[in-house]
Subunit: 215 residues, 2 copies
């Protein structure tokens, strides 16, 4: 069964697609144009009631929330492609810890920067400068912790690339490109080396090449 | 080995403790007084570099981020106590989806309300009325989706209580008590019945009785 992924132009679906490529799972994409409001059509809301991307359909199985989708495929096809959840329950614990750090500490400020600075002008959202400053302060704190961690560990959750690293690519790419905040990564030796490592994986290069970012 | 849980007075560690009780896992607690800044001591930061609670120690295994800790124990002791991750990979996918909805859509606005309204006066944080209004709007949207879901499903992820439901208890309690926003839950028939069901579980009643909320 070919997995259908909705919204490949946007960042969160790219996280799912990179995971599918790492696992060697066949997929096809369905474009959703958020700028045209296609994410709020009754048909789409029937699939994803919050009106956000991605959602996947795999036969009659439907799932949303990018990190839930990645966990599902990484577990279902454990022995196929790259092992992304560690080899033991303890290793998976570490992957889950850093995946939560990504979701709770890294994602929120970058998402807000992307929404305000990049999509804001297109969607008529007024910039909140105080919040933009807070976002940057939060990211500085996050990357300071990552720098310490990556000083003694090749990847966030340990010696191997995992979902915890992969999950940073989709929005990390915005920091390195349209948001012009590459200094947050480049000013930190170990974070910088880690970024080069993970963003040069064939899976991620393929995602960026196949599905250009809209902004 | 007895699991050591740091910060039982606060909401996120309560989520972990409820999970340990559901699984029948022995634990002990270590108090951390955030209002006195104990979470920013060098010893604590060594365990949890972001200075937040909880963190657990289990022999020489250390883990933080409450949802990662819950997943770890729910998986490690799969066949002991309440099954909290579903019985199949597909069921776990649904649990993960709703656990992400909790983390991404429910948690952020309630956490902001708790921080601004309840802890704000104690920590000298100025209230941002626009943001408080946005938080409430987000919660209305979330509970509207839950109401639809719970119309046809007893629990968020399906027929059985899971981590997805459990994860709402710690901050949901604030809506029902100090924040005085119980109408968000009580105005919705199915959400209201769901809340009564999950908050009356012996595990949760024990958590609230043993570890009173600080505000």
């Amino acid at each position: 069964m070919v997995v259908k992924v909705y919204g490949p132009a946007y960042a969160s679906p790219k996280r799912v697609i990179a995971c599918l490529i790492e696992k060697g799972i066949e997929f096809e994409v369905v474009d959703i144009d958020i700028l045209k409001g296609e994410n709020t059509s009754p048909q789409y809301l029937n699939l994803q009631p919050f009106g956000v991307v991605p959602v996947i359909q795999d036969g009659d199985y439907t799932l949303y929330e990018s990190r839930a989708i990645m966990r599902y495929y990484a577990e279902k096809y454990k022995s196929q492609g790259t092992q992304l959840l560690g080899n033991t329950v303890e290793e998976r614990g570490q992957v889950e810890q850093w995946l939560e750090v990504e979701a709770q500490n890294f994602h929120a400020p970058v998402y807000d920067l992307v929404t305000q600075v990049l999509f804001g002008p297109l969607l008529g959202i007024t910039r909140d400068e105080t919040r933009l400053r807070q976002d940057e302060e939060k990211l500085v704190r996050v990357f300071d912790v990552y720098e310490e961690r990556l000083r003694t560990s090749k990847y966030l959750a340990g010696d191997s690339f995992s979902l915890a690293d992969l999950s940073h690519l989709a929005f990390g790419h915005y920091l390195m490109s349209s948001l012009k905040k590459e200094y947050l990564i480049r000013d930190r030796k170990h974070v910088s080396a880690w970024w080069d490592d993970i963003s040069n994986r064939p899976s991620w290069k393929k995602v960026v090449q196949l599905y250009p970012y809209p902004v």
